[in-house]
Amino acid sequence: MDVQEAVAEGTASVENGEVKRDGRKQFSMGAGDILEGKLIYDGSLHADGRVEGEVRVSGNIDVASGANVKALLEGANVTLKGTVEGQVTAHDKLTLGKNARLSGDIVVRRLQIDDGATLNGHVRMGDVEHQASGQ
C-alpha cells in the first residue's frame, strides 16, 4: 500500500520518527501524543495517547494500554491493550489483551480475545476484503 494521504494534526507532539522495525517504517506515538484526522501509512503504528479519526496502515497496529482511541482502525495485525471506540479491520489477526475495551464492529480473519477484555459490537470473520477502504 502506498502512502496516499497523511494528515496528522499534532496538538501536542506527534513523533513521526522514521523508526524502522523489521525493515518497515513504524509510526510511534508516546503517551502524551495526540493524533486527530486521517492517517494512511505504509508501515506499522504504535498508538498511545489519544487518537481520533481514521487510521489505515499496511503493517500492524498496536494500541497501548493507556491509549484512548476513537477511530476507525485498519491494519494487518491489530493488537489492542487500551480503550478503542470504532470499527476495527484486521487483514490477519485481531488480539484483544486482557485490559482492552473495544466498542465497535470487527472484521477479521483471525480473532483472539484474552480473558478480561471487554467487547461490544458485531464480529465478522473470514477473508477481509478491502471494503473498508472505499468508505
Binding site: R110, L111, I113, T118, L119, N120, G121, V123, M125
Partner: protein, 170 residues
C-alpha cells in the same frame, strides 16, 4: 422466547442436579452429541458437539474441542470459545469472554456484568418479627429467638437440608 430471558426466570434457589454441596451443576454435550432447540442450564455448560439453537447458562459456557454452536449464547459468567471451536451468527451476551486463536467467531457481542446478572428473587426478609414482638412480652427472650431465625433463613436459599430440618421443628 419467553423462556429465555433472565428476567423472566430467576434461578431457583435450590441447586439443581448433583447433590454435592456448593458444587455447581454441570452439563456436558460430547463430540457426538447434538442439540437442536433451546437449552437453559443452572450451572456450567460444556459443548464439544453440535448445537443449533440457543444456549443460556447461569455459570460458564465453554465451547471446546470441535464444538459448533449456531445461535444465541448467554452466559451469566464466562464464555470460552476454544481454538478449534466455532460460534456463529448469534447474539452473545456474557460477562467475560475468551476467544482462543484459531476459533471461528461471528455475531454480535454484548458485555457488561450489570446487564446480564440474574435478578435476585425478590424475597425480602420474612417478617414474623413484628408478630413475635406483639405476642411475647419479655424483650430479651425475643431477641434471642429472633436472631437464630435470621441466621437460619439465609442458608435455606442455598441448601436443601436446612429447609427440611426447619420444617420438622415447626
Amino acid at each position: 422466547m419467553s423462556t429465555k430471558r433472565p428476567g423472566s426466570r430467576p434461578p431457583t434457589p435450590i441447586p439443581a442436579g448433583n447433590g454435592s454441596n456448593g458444587q455447581r451443576n454441570s452439563v456436558v454435550l460430547g463430540p457426538r452429541d447434538r442439540l437442536v432447540g433451546q437449552l437453559y442450564i443452572e450451572g456450567n455448560l460444556r459443548v464439544s458437539g453440535t448445537v443449533d439453537g440457543e444456549l443460556e447458562a447461569t455459570g460458564d459456557i465453554e465451547i471446546a474441542g470441535g464444538g459448533k454452536v449456531s445461535g444465541a449464547v448467554t452466559a451469566y459468567e464466562r464464555l470460552v470459545v476454544g481454538s478449534q471451536a466455532s460460534l456463529i451468527g448469534g447474539n452473545v451476551r456474557v460477562a467475560r469472554l475468551t476467544v482462543e486463536d484459531g476459533a471461528t467467531f461471528t455475531g454480535k457481542v454484548t458485555m457488561g456484568k450489570p446487564a446480564i446478572e440474574p435478578p435476585k428473587p425478590p424475597e425480602p426478609e420474612r417478617q414474623p418479627l413484628p408478630a413475635a414482638v406483639v405476642v411475647a412480652e419479655p424483650v430479651k427472650p425475643i431477641e434471642q429467638k429472633v436472631a437464630p431465625v435470621q441466621r437460619k433463613v439465609a442458608p435455606i436459599r442455598q441448601k436443601v437440608a436446612p429447609v427440611q430440618q426447619k420444617g420438622k421443628r415447626r
